[in-house]
């Protein structure tokens, strides 16, 4: 039997558009200190492996691995960086635990993106230099193209996507970790600044900064040490060919496959079995696309946008701000707080199961999903 892995502690710092008093390392230290306190572990004695989800270009620091160990309490210990979203980092932690590398693993992910003065330049460097950059089509253009095709193929209207944005911003008003809560009229969203039409300014999240540290342990370790963890029932990630190379935008293959794998691992049937969903909304249309990829009809998606539903109570990325590699970690954090009943103003009632997903952004076809529960 495969050993269960549990989340025994979470810690975070930041969740603001710009954190001006802390360096990247200090931001990580703060989140790690709080996570270890929450887990009741000493990183110098109890944690066997440390993982940081980081990408050199966002750090502005080549071989960012070198600046990771100390502030996580991992100096002289097994430390690795994963250049991917935080949920993928959690996947690596599970592998470390199940393969016997460690009983307890810390996974860190952060965004210090306000330090990056040329954010668009970093995004552009993700595009194929020979076949994409030549025309000057940047990341927003790729998103606008995909959005247009998705709307055409699914019959999605501008007004429906504005409802996605309005819902996220409203929910964010009740979340202390959300930087971009607002009460907006649909007309404001419909007519916000054009980026690459149909993509408008409010269809994409603004950036935010934060660090999130999640401490995982094997079920046997947690039992021995009397920790009440949040169970990871399933986790999966996929890297598909980007849509413009593979064609087809109605379904996000990376999300569909990740979701199906998670449901199989969890022994669950569909999303209605979760009490809270934190689904990737890196663009307004992506939320709809991702939910449809997980078997929800468009009518169903629109119904989920209403107040008080289980969908993205945090306000999602549209309301919280985009946290680059910490985007998935934030969603997992919100899920953990929800199942613990400590999510604050947006706490849902009676949360026993939660689901989170992430997408790594243009031009990738890389996504991840995770199912969490308590007391099943």
């Amino acid at each position: 039997m495969v050993e269960r892995v549990e989340i025994i502690g979470v810690g975070f710092e930041g969740f603001r558009p710009s954190i001006t008093d802390l360096s990247t390392r200090e931001l990580m230290y703060e989140a790690a200190s709080k996570a270890y306190h929450d887990a009741g572990v000493d990183p110098r004695k109890d944690i066997g492996s440390f993982i940081s989800c980081t990408e050199d270009l966002w750090e502005g620091w080549s071989i960012a691995d070198e600046m990771v160990p100390d502030q996580l309490g991992g100096a002289g210990r097994p430390v690795c960086t994963v250049p991917a979203d935080g949920i993928v980092g959690l996947g690596h932690a599970i592998m470390h635990i199940r393969s016997g590398v460690a009983d307890v693993v810390a996974v860190e992910a952060h965004s210090k993106v306000a330090d990056v003065l040329d954010k668009t330049a970093v995004e552009n460097l993700a595009l194929d230099p020979v076949f994409h950059r030549a025309t000057g089509a940047n990341s927003d253009v790729l998103a606008g193209l995909e959005m247009s095709s998705f709307m055409e193929e699914t019959g999605t209207k501008r007004g429906e996507l504005s409802q996605v944005v309005r819902s996220a911003k409203r929910k964010a008003m009740r979340n202390g970790r959300a930087s971009y809560g607002a009460t907006l009229e649909l007309e404001e969203i419909d007519s916000s600044e054009p980026l690459a039409l149909p993509l408008r300014r409010l269809d994409r999240p603004e950036f935010a900064e934060a660090a999130v540290v999640i401490v995982l342990a094997s079920g046997s370790w947690a039992k021995r040490h009397r920790k009440d963890g949040v169970f990871i029932d399933g986790l999966s990630w996929r890297s598909a060919t980007p849509w413009f190379e593979a064609g087809g935008v109605k379904t996000a293959r990376y999300m569909q496959d990740s979701y199906r794998s998670v449901m199989k691992q969890s022994g669950l049937r569909d999303l209605s079995q979760f009490d809270v969903l934190e689904v990737d909304d890196s663009y307004s249309f992506k939320l709809v696309q991702h939910l449809m990829s997980m078997g929800v009809s468009k009518v169903g998606v629109m119904g989920m946008l209403k107040e008080g539903t289980a969908l993205n109570p945090s306000g999602g990325s549209l309301g919280t701000g985009h946290l680059i590699e910490a985007t998935g970690s934030h969603k997992v954090l919100e899920c953990v707080l929800q199942v613990r009943g400590t999510a604050g103003g947006n706490q849902a009632k009676g949360v026993g199961r939660a689901f989170a997903s992430s997408w790594r952004g243009n031009p990738t076809g890389a996504g991840a999903a995770i199912a969490l529960s308590v007391g099943n």
Binding site: P43, V141, S148
Partner: protein, 154 residues
Amino acid sequence: MSMPMKERITSVDRQRTWEGEIPFHYEYTAGVSGERFLRGLQRGKILVPKCGNCGRSYLPPRAYCTNCFLEITSYVELKPTGRVSALAESHVDFQGRRSKPRTFAFVTFAGVTGGLVHFAEGKGLRIGSSVRAKFKPAAKRKGTLLDIETFVKT
């Protein structure tokens, strides 16, 4: 035991930053397949790799089949007409600054997996429109994607 910092900066005049840059430049290798494709454009042709095993063709071009993971060595010439599968009117330039609107399309070709992101124009252009590649005059082609000036609605 873990302990967050007790002292934090509480005055903005104590906050310091250090400006830096990463001034690197690259010459990206187009590769075996990219070379065939780009040299084809220079001759006014759209050449795409075709897998000898499964028969799939790809754009952007690649030297290996995504489906079979086998090397692709044969190329076929496409008719220069395609279909607009996605359309975006960009109001920002490559650096994200406000700019004069430009229309980009994702142009797909019959029997080809993928397509090209490129400029497109023509009255009434919409998703589903048929477009034709307009090449630059031969003397001005340099073996880049921009040897196709734009895609024009037919």
